[in-house]
């Protein structure tokens, strides 16, 4: 399909990028382009200027300390999947990134682009919510619980950009994704984590937006074992339904996924940084 005309800019500084985005209401930020470019090709969006975030230093790099893993918004999935520090600290996040689509998408698609887009079928929102991460933007810090608001909707205001995502290091974490048989995106996924913020279970793909599975969290809070999840189920009301998965099937996958994610969380604990380190 032919792409409508647009201007392309690649600013070297954050200030310049924000200026460009302010200069024109139809200007759009471009990260990996793995969602935006297909939308252009389908002529679903007609931005005047694409502001490529590639060269902005604040959005790049990975920092790991004893408490946190901080990932720049422009970090491509391929890096998240293979970075040894992420793999050690939050193995479920690295494993999640490794299973996003194919190498081309992983080499270009970014964490910032993914969470800003907030596709209900995207993977990262489950990790961000499940781990209780904090999203640092050009204006503020937003808790994961306040960030994902609805279908393709986030707390980001016009012209506000995601700079970094700060993950608290968990004691345990596991993620299970049931992929859509056609697209490979998430039909339903479950992220189970235990850490400084307690036990958190996030379900993606099932509803219009990622959400916390509070029943599962309550069961696991005092008893982080498979037995605690016996008879776990999620009501199907309000869940998504499409040609690949009904709401009832998604509810089922959420429960099965939670149990399996817990098993991974128990079997593959992250490396903890020693006191001396």
């Amino acid at each position: 399909m032919s792409v409508p005309d647009f201007a392309y800019r690649r600013p070297a500084t954050l200030a310049e990028a924000l200026d460009l985005l302010r200069s024109d209401p139809e200007a759009r930020a471009l990260a990996g382009g793995q969602t935006l470019i297909p939308a252009l090709k389908q002529r679903m969006t007609r931005p005047s200027i694409l502001v490529d975030l590639q060269s902005i230093p604040e959005m790049r790099g990975i920092e790991v300390d004893a408490d946190r893993v901080s990932i720049g918004a422009m970090t491509p999935h391929a890096v998240t999947a293979t970075d040894p520090r992420i793999r050690a600290a939050i193995p479920a996040l690295a494993a999640m990134a490794a299973r996003v689509s194919h190498p081309q998408v992983r080499n270009l698609g970014t964490m910032g682009g993914s969470i800003a887009n907030n596709d209900p079928a995207a993977d990262y929102p489950a990790a961000v919510l499940g781990l209780g991460a904090e999203i640092e933007t050009t204006r503020r810090r937003i808790a994961a619980d306040d960030f994902f608001l609805g279908l393709f909707t986030t707390a980001l205001e016009p012209g506000e950009l995601v700079l970094r995502i700060h993950f608290p290091r968990p004691d345990n974490c596991g993620y299970v994704k049931f992929a859509n048989p056609a697209s490979g995106y998430v039909t339903t996924g479950a992220f189970v984590a235990r850490g400084p913020a307690g036990v958190r279970v996030a379900i993606n793909g099932a509803g219009p937006v990622v959400f916390r599975f509070t029943d599962a969290e309550a069961r696991l809070a005092g008893d982080f074992t498979p037995a605690a999840l016996d008879g776990l189920s999620l009501p199907a009301a309000g869940l998504n339904s499409d040609i690949h998965a009904s709401a009832a099937y998604r509810a089922r996958l959420a429960a099965v996924g939670t149990r399996r994610a817990l098993a991974i969380a128990l079997a593959q604990p992250p490396e903890q940084i020693k006191e001396s380190a």
């Binding site: 032919s2 792409v3 049931f178 056609a182 697209s183 040609i243 690949h244 998965a245 089922r252």
Partner: protein, 823 residues
């Protein structure tokens, strides 16, 4: 012997092609002629294709070319009240907007249907007007409404977005289920019940009698879903009208250039065929999808003629889900009668096949040809088959790899599984009791097909051994330990191949190199390699001196293309005859050169040899060069020069024709094992084994590639693929994000083998080898999944076996009281 006649390799020079560009046989091939028939030669064409040197239609840019864009119907069924193109005309770069009214005014013909024979029951069917642009009614989402031609694609799309079409929506029957329901909306007013045609095979009375005496009767409804062909290369065409020669020139990604020219000349433009020139370069797959004629091929030529400039059209990926003709789509209601021992007494089948909204060239082929194979590899004494061709508000049906034979195989094999359960026999045993035995050959089935040869039980035993059928229980327990259900299934298939005639030509040039001019058309099958292997074997010419030519109607005298696994049989046998004719022609010149009577010469390893005499000889390549000699004299040794007669003095060539009459019947057996996750319904195919009898194997490597590819498509159809419509006829599976294509991770290692029983019906002994996997494997996978789910009480499932569908079946069975006794 004259040493100057020994074949000599030319000295390497700057223009020589590196050896890497040519096919090579893998190490350790222990035959003298390691490049000829039977050698696992890697594909000669692959180097070109994988180094970016392919010449696909979209690689072609014609000076001055415009871009065409098709505005398609957004509705499943609607009357067109008006089309307002005024907004489009204002877009800069717009050249023309064409509509159905212009099409009618210019007197172009309708898309033809050439797949319903006059022998159809009642001698009649409901024809459908199918202009390349809809005139007053659209009957499916995606039908062509306007053709926009502009300087750039962007301008064309922009202009198309500004065309205002006023539609009056009409009731929609988008699926087979909807179209055969009582009181269904009519797709065509003159087709009551949405029925285009009705046909019958077999003997109703004999079948009734068989059912009367039956100990067991089983019934089944078998749904074979609609799938999209999805060739790797999207359809592309460039049309040009040249006022200098008064001809239409079409470059197309078609899989059948000569058929395309014939249809354009006879049905669309109604001009002599020589005024139409069709060229197809490299074509990236088709699977039947690209075999006929499409509206866009007409539109680019017609638009080019109207605007005086070439016009190119390239199908978008997601557009292909609306624009390409689809495959399969059948509901079969079957009843099988058996005696107490599980011998089949009779089979009744009524088939409803979805033809789509309008008839294309090959639309009726799948229902009419596939049903001929409903006896499978079994001696069913009585059969009666009813076939209904049904219109729906969906895209036109066409052939898709296997074309009707996968549907037939699924019916037969599923019914035997149901019968085995009912009679209480093992699925292998019930098949054994019903196989046609070798000593019954030739065998005429109850619906009139005559199989010439085949050893069905032996091929099945070979497949069972290859699959380690008996080792299943241990693997089942291992799966069980991991919380997974394991099942196994087998499927025996037979199909029919090699239709129509074809023409092949071998032609020497003045340097002693050969060109093969093929009437068939390879779009991924590897003919450049297999035909070269044959010619190498038969004429003794080195592979690097053989050139393969196809796909240009100005160069190839005539041809019928490649489909239905016909090329090795029909093309290969015609090529054999062409080589024989060439050898006979060359013998007359060799006789002059050697001074020996032509009848006394033998053709041995590429040379004419006087074996009965002093073994004097001359290589064919030297004879060929001599046939081009400027002065026209031939001489043996120091003998006197002889004048070459005129008919041997303008090059050496041979033309061969062949038609397979009777056709041939590839057959075999596939075994699948699956693991099912009972909590999520996810199916994983864990093992695939298959043994085919495709007769003589020309190139085992390429054959294996064909079979693996067919198996991949089988896994796709059984587990993933489906064209899905909503009640309004919208295509819900209109992109790869919703239409599930199989990926590498969906396949296990496939263990494949051959057990050839060469046929006597062609000089090579070959049977078709390109569709076995798509035909033979699907029932085995379905059967394996049902076998795995048997303990849970799941009795039936329809393809595709998506996780949700399998889970829903498990869920339903576990809440149904009857299933308790099984668990």
């Amino acid at each position: 012997m004259d040493s100057s006649h020994m074949p000599r390799r030319p000295r390497p020079g700057p223009f020589d092609r590196p050896a890497a560009e040519l096919g090579h046989a893998p190490e350790g091939v222990g035959r003298m002629n390691s490049m000829g028939i039977g050698a696992p030669l890697a594909r000669i064409e692959d180097i070109r294709l994988v180094t970016g040197n392919g010449r696909f239609a979209n690689n072609v840019t014609v000076p001055g070319q415009l871009r065409g864009y098709v505005l398609r119907s957004p509705l499943g069924h609607a009357r067109i009240r008006s089309i307002d193109v005024s907004g489009a005309l204002e877009v800069p770069g717009l050249v023309a907007v064409l509509t159905g009214e212009d099409y009618a005014r210019d007197g172009l013909g309708d898309m033809p249907c050439v797949s319903i024979p006059p022998t159809i029951k009642g001698g009649a069917y409901v024809p459908t007007p199918f202009p390349a642009l809809a005139v007053d009614t659209v009957r499916c989402v995606g039908s062509e409404v306007a053709f926009v031609v502009a300087e750039t694609l962007s301008a064309a799309v922009e202009a198309a977005e500004r065309i205002v079409v006023d539609y009056e929506p009409l009731p929609v029957a988008p699926t087979l289920e909807a179209a055969i329901a009582p009181g269904a909306p009519l797709v065509w007013p003159d087709a009551p019940g949405n029925r285009c045609f009705y046909h019958e095979l077999g003997d109703a009375a004999a079948c009734d009698a068989a059912f009367d005496g039956a100990a067991h009767v089983v019934k089944g409804r078998i749904r074979n879903q609609r799938v999209a062909g999805n060739p790797l290369e999207p359809r592309t065409c460039i049309g040009r009208y040249d006022p200098a020669d008064g001809r239409f020139h079409l470059t197309s990604s078609t899989a059948n250039p000569h058929r395309l020219r014939l249809l354009l000349s006879e049905h669309i433009f109604r001009i002599p065929a020589h005024r139409i020139h069709v060229v197809a370069g490299d074509v990236g797959g088709g699977f039947g999808t690209k075999g006929g004629l499409y509206p866009e091929e007409i539109l680019v030529l017609w638009a080019a003629w109207r605007v005086g400039r070439p016009v190119k059209w390239v199908c978008e990926r997601s557009e292909a889900f609306l624009a390409d003709f689809n495959g399969r789509d059948q509901i079969a209601d079957a009843e099988m009668a058996l005696d107490a021992d599980g011998r089949v007494l009779g089979l009744r089948v009524e088939v409803n096949h979805n033809l789509g909204s309008a008839l294309g060239p090959s639309t009726a082929h799948p229902p009419l040809v596939g049903t001929r194979m409903l006896s499978g590899v079994y001696a069913f004494p009585a059969m009666h088959v009813k076939i209904n061709g049904i219109f729906t508000n969906s895209r036109t049906l066409t052939t898709y790899r296997g074309a009707g034979r996968p549907e037939a195989t699924l019916i037969v094999e599923r019914m035997l599984d149901l019968a085995a359960e009912k009679v209480g026999l093992d699925p292998v045993e019930i098949r054994r009791r019903n196989f046609i035995r070798p000593e019954q050959m030739p065998y005429r089935t109850a619906i009139g097909e005559t199989y010439d040869c085949g050893e069905f039980e032996a091929v099945t035993d070979a497949a069972l051994a290859l699959a380690d059928w008996d080792g299943f229980e241990a693997r089942r327990r291992t799966s069980e330990g991991r919380g997974l259900l394991r099942g196994r299934g087998l499927s025996c298939y037979i199909e029919v191949c090699a239709t129509l005639s074809d023409r092949m030509e071998v032609r020497f040039d003045s340097s002693g190199c050969v060109s093969i001019l093929a009437g068939t058309f390879s779009y991924g099958q590897g003919h450049e390699t297999t035909y070269a292997q044959m010619v190498h074997d038969w004429l003794g010419v080195p592979l690097d001196q053989i050139r393969f030519v196809q796909g240009d109607t100005d160069i190839i005298a005539t041809g019928r293309g490649s489909f239905g696994s016909r090329s090795m049989t029909v093309g290969g046998s015609a090529l054999r005859k062409a080589c024989e004719n060439l050898i006979a022609m060359g013998a007359r010149l060799a006789s002059l050169m050697l001074d020996v009577e032509p009848e006394a010469l033998d053709f041995v390893d590429g040379s004419y040899v006087w074996t009965a005499g002093d073994r004097r000889s001359v290589p064919l390549t030297e004879v060929a060069k001599t046939s081009f000699a400027w002065r026209g004299s031939a001489a043996y040794n120091s003998g006197p020069p002889r004048q070459i007669p005129a008919d041997l003095w303008s090059g050496l060539e041979g033309v061969g024709h062949f038609s397979a009459n009777p056709q041939n019947y590839p057959n075999g057996c596939y075994v699948a094992e699956v693991e099912v996750d009972p909590e999520t319904g996810q199916v994983r195919v864990d093992r695939i084994a298959g043994v085919d009898d495709v007769g003589t194997v020309i190139n085992p490597l390429l054959l294996e590639g064909q079979v693996i590819g067919g198996c991949a498509q089988a896994v796709g159809q059984v587990l993933l693929e489906a064209v899905v419509h909503d009640a309004e006829g919208q295509v819900l599976s209109g992109a790869f994000t919703d239409y599930g294509m199989p990926r590498a991770e969906d396949f296990p290692h496939m263990v494949l083998s051959n057990r050839p029983v060469p046929t006597q019906t062609n000089p090579l002994g070959v049977k078709g080898g390109a569709e076995t996997g798509t035909i033979g494997l699907p029932p085995a996978i379905l059967s394996a999944v049902l076998d795995a789910l048997r303990p849970l009480g799941v009795r039936d499932l329809s393809m595709p076996l998506t996780p949700m569908k399998v889970w829903a079946a498990i869920d339903a069975a576990s809440s149904a009281p009857v299933s308790k006794e099984n668990s």
